[in-house]
Symmetry: C2
Subunit: 225 residues, 2 copies
DNA sequence: TTTTTACATATTGTCGACAATCGGAGTTAA
DNA sequence: TTAACTCCGATTGTCGACAATATGTAAAAA
């Protein structure tokens, strides 16, 4: 589910959220054509609101539209993912740097608590890997919030970063990295607690580079097979 | 004008570009209400395409929409600008770092040529400051292109960064910084030529910090008066 | 057989009208 | 005088139908 799941509001917003969910979870395949009339009927609405939803999804980079031809779900190829992670590295690094000066002690303590619960979840193991993944997103989003920068929050939060969640669903099988990731998260929190923005930024950037490296290897293994 | 100004294509796209232009140049004031019916008639189209344009502009962060209430032009207050420059620093820094490894020698040479023409324009002085400003945007965009990262190009290019152009129009009067800015640009190009991504990133980030500082002071002077 | 052209079909783009909702003017009561 | 309430006008949200455009097929020419 999306961070906030309004099955209310305008029909266009409902369509946006339902489609975004379907796309992110892979329920609608990458590259699939999105037929306006068909979707409108499935959602029980006219084509007007649905078209607005498609425009919105285009802004989220979840679909690509071509005039007079139609909309298709984006294809997360290797290059796109690589580009995404470079942007993430830049933005989340900056968020971290600012958060080190802006977050309250209480918020940093909350981060520690969040990581504790992650650790428990990992110990219990078997449990959904997805949960950890979404929890990881939570960690990153909490830091974005800590930056007090609305634009960063938008870019790293629900509106713009559904692409990342989509990627997570696609690569959710590699659970082996949760261990090192957790430790890196802890290092980052300590840097925040010491109010060392420069260090926090560096650690976050390394963390994301590591995550990309892990995903990159996995994709290449897949493509070899 | 926009980098590409299609007065063709779908009506929604035309409306998007015309409105974006009017908003960026200040022809439509910040915070002004955008009446659908009125604009639709002014542009000689129905409300459907215009609504899609508003959605698109919302994605560009040029307008803010509230359900059942309507759309207003965003207000570029101090906090918003500050947030914008932090994001710019992160993204353009990253673009610079990558460009140092990805740009061809020919492209770097082109950058030098671009800066030469900027210098001439500044010498001729009186000439439009705007031209320099847009030229500056060119410089930054060329580097974004040099990163070969489509997402960075989108975020720093025409689609997402109209906000920045809007800011430029608002603060275009302070021409005194063109001198140091040019010198910093030259330093950046040299770092690129040496293929030193780390240095190029650092210089770009400082450059943008300096630009923000300059704008920040200017705004405070304005608000004092 | 291959290429090109013309056509038929499906899909997108656009419009005008109607329904739902919000903001404000005016009224009434405390 | 102030507060809350009610109603009305204006604006947004939605729908269905029609026009414009692209895609795929089949026939005709090379």
């Amino acid at each position: 589910m999306l961070p906030y799941t309004p099955e209310q509001g305008t029909l266009a917003d409902i369509a946006t959220h339902r489609l975004a969910h379907s796309i992110v979870t892979g329920e609608i395949a990458q590259g699939q054509k999105l037929n306006e009339a068909e979707l409108a009927e499935r959602f029980g609405m006219g084509r007007g609101p649905l078209r607005e939803a498609l425009r919105h999804l285009e802004g989220m980079r979840l679909v690509k539209r071509i005039p007079n031809v139609g909309a298709r779900v984006v294809i997360l190829d290797h290059k796109t993912l690589s580009d995404l992670y470079a942007v993430r590295e830049a933005l989340e690094g900056m968020a971290c740097r600012i958060a080190a000066t802006q977050m309250t002690d209480a918020e940093i303590e909350q981060l520690r608590t969040l990581l504790d619960s992650h650790e428990k979840q990992i110990r219990k193991q078997g449990g959904k890997v997805y949960a950890q993944k979404e929890g990881d997103l939570d960690f990153h989003y909490q830091i974005a919030r800590g930056s007090r920068n609305q634009m960063l929050m938008d870019l790293l939060g629900s509106e713009q970063y559904q692409l990342l969640r989509m990627c997570r669903y696609r690569t959710s099988r590699n659970a082996e990295r949760t261990g090192p990731a957790l430790q890196q998260h802890r290092q980052i929190v300590e840097a925040l607690a010491q109010r060392d923005g420069e260090l926090a930024e560096m650690l976050m950037r390394r963390h994301i580079q590591g995550a990309w490296q892990s995903i990159d290897e996995m994709i290449e293994k897949e493509e070899a097979a």
